[in-house]
Symmetry: C2
Subunit: 385 residues, 2 copies
Amino acid sequence: QNITHMQSTTPFSGAVRLGILGGGQLGKMIIDEVMRYDIFVGTLDPSTQASTAPYAHICRHGDFRKREDVLEFGADFDVLTIEIEDVNTDALRELEAQGKRVYPQPDVIDIFRDKSVQKEFYRKHAIPTSDFVILENKPTDWDDFPVVWKAATGGYDGKGVKLLRGKSDLVDLPDGRCVMEELVPIAKEIGVIVSRNVSGEIAVFPPVEMEFHPEANLVELVFAPANISAEQSAEAERLARILAEKTRIVGTLAVELFLDNDGNFIVNESAPRVHNSGHLSIEACYTSQFEQHVRAILDLPLGDTSLIMPAAMGNVVGEPEYSGKVVYLGAEELLRQRGVYLHLYGKTETRPYRKMGHITCLHKSTTQAREIVRSLRQTFKIIAQ
Amino acid sequence: QNITHMQSTTPFSGAVRLGILGGGQLGKMIIDEVMRYDIFVGTLDPSTQASTAPYAHICRHGDFRKREDVLEFGADFDVLTIEIEDVNTDALRELEAQGKRVYPQPDVIDIFRDKSVQKEFYRKHAIPTSDFVILENKPTDWDDFPVVWKAATGGYDGKGVKLLRGKSDLVDLPDGRCVMEELVPIAKEIGVIVSRNVSGEIAVFPPVEMEFHPEANLVELVFAPANISAEQSAEAERLARILAEKTRIVGTLAVELFLDNDGNFIVNESAPRVHNSGHLSIEACYTSQFEQHVRAILDLPLGDTSLIMPAAMGNVVGEPEYSGKVVYLGAEELLRQRGVYLHLYGKTETRPYRKMGHITCLHKSTTQAREIVRSLRQTFKIIAQ
């Protein structure tokens, strides 16, 4: 390989080889957002149909949960990162020991990939969070309802989380370590993305507000600026910044906060990676979360995170009745709208509620942006052939 | 190949295969700008180091001026387009006859790739342009100076154009068909990008103003909105629209206009493709010229072209004293600036004045945007190892 290390100058034009564990939509958007710097990017994914497959410089097939696959993949890169937290961190530690730059650090990934460890981290560092009890296996004789059950590991997109209202809800829980959390009355859900680079510089994105789909438990709509006071916004950013400082993460931390009826924040959960709640940053902010993540892990100066314009983002998910080869309906109306951006993740097969893409709308009025995204989600549909 | 034609629905997610003749920076930016639609894109370029090589779904090596290479490449695609006009249009006509969709149409490319044909087209359709004479070979006994000599074909980036001040300037001219043009006193140079889709819909980008480097004859700075009156802006857009209508081009036409001291426009020259004068549309407009071009040739609705914010764009060219493996200096300051976007074209070798990338700056004040780009071009330098 004809590679020179020019960290003292820039990582542009293939001077640094960046490997991403995971080849889904987050990886695809990372590649898209740093293509203008011509950064060499490879991905590791078990699927031969990975979203990154057509765009990565190198697209390896393998399991990021398997030690050998991660070690073999890592050998070809200078800097390693993740787009999913459920990876083999022991292998990443071995690569770190070999001198590879692994960001976020494997020890930081380990804090967040296990929700019980994550909750204990919040408690230890006096980060406000809901009360909780950690159980080594699912509860069989629980009395205190309602309560939120969360699987310690493996949960995503609404899986691994369940609101239990009574003893009968205990029956269907899967086995395994879990966190039982107090149910907090929530006024709003707020997301904050924070990035920290190798040199310790920190930048925080403007807080976004999230609306969830009641059935699928997926984020339905995200908008910015959040409809909260300037003081609340500053407090949300302060909490995110503290988390970045306490963990000393290099990379991106997506922090989900609950705002209660008294106007106080608690941290619900965080992910050590780029996140659905930050997608609108691609068009709405001067720097996107994807570019910012790469700047952070390559130790470049962090970019300006301020909003160019208010925005709303809605996920585009497969219609519930359809599985199979994807067909898009109603794209014409969407394409005609000023300030509307469609992102498709390159998944050839749709399934009920599968995340297939997202729509962002820029508008001087946040309310209007939300209305437009809501309306387009009624007309732009994903079905199967 | 497992391809279904779904023109009736959408060309997303690989449903249509788009082939581009040329794999330079324009091709790279086309791929970048439609990656979020997951459109299948292949490129044909003689260089194995083409800018598109890491990002195209298929990257073929071959000469777009050679009939066989174009025919072989075209066989694999549904829609063909260009990022350079110096291509084999006879081969494209054969592909058209085979049922391929070729946009812009080969006959339209032929109008613009030969400057003598282009000038005659303007005259025939009463498009204002400077007076001219077409010569079958370079002049040997010309008397009327000053005059602008232009090679009929093969000119680009300042090559193939020369201002002749006297008989002694005739000596060094290369052989070949040429256009001798009246030298027009110019107050401003204005660029307008116009797109027309298969269905005949036309959309015009806001006029930009261009400043040229006095030595290299390369565009040095482009900014929008142009510093002209609303009436002048409307007139520039009208001329671009007329050209799109008269040629019936499907795709993109980049029109360069001279504004004389009396406030009248004449068309200098046009290119039937995305163009350097439209690069700022990536960040400054709701829809970029690159996305718009793809929308046009895939017969999608055209996007909104209005400005999100004023902007300036400066080319980043290789320092005159350096040739060899590229080294970037001064990126840190650039990366810290709000609203500044660096685009690198992925060229590993620099040469004097070679276009290596561009910088766009968004700013509420056009003057400030211009100042920032000018200043960054002093600090961000491209040299060789």
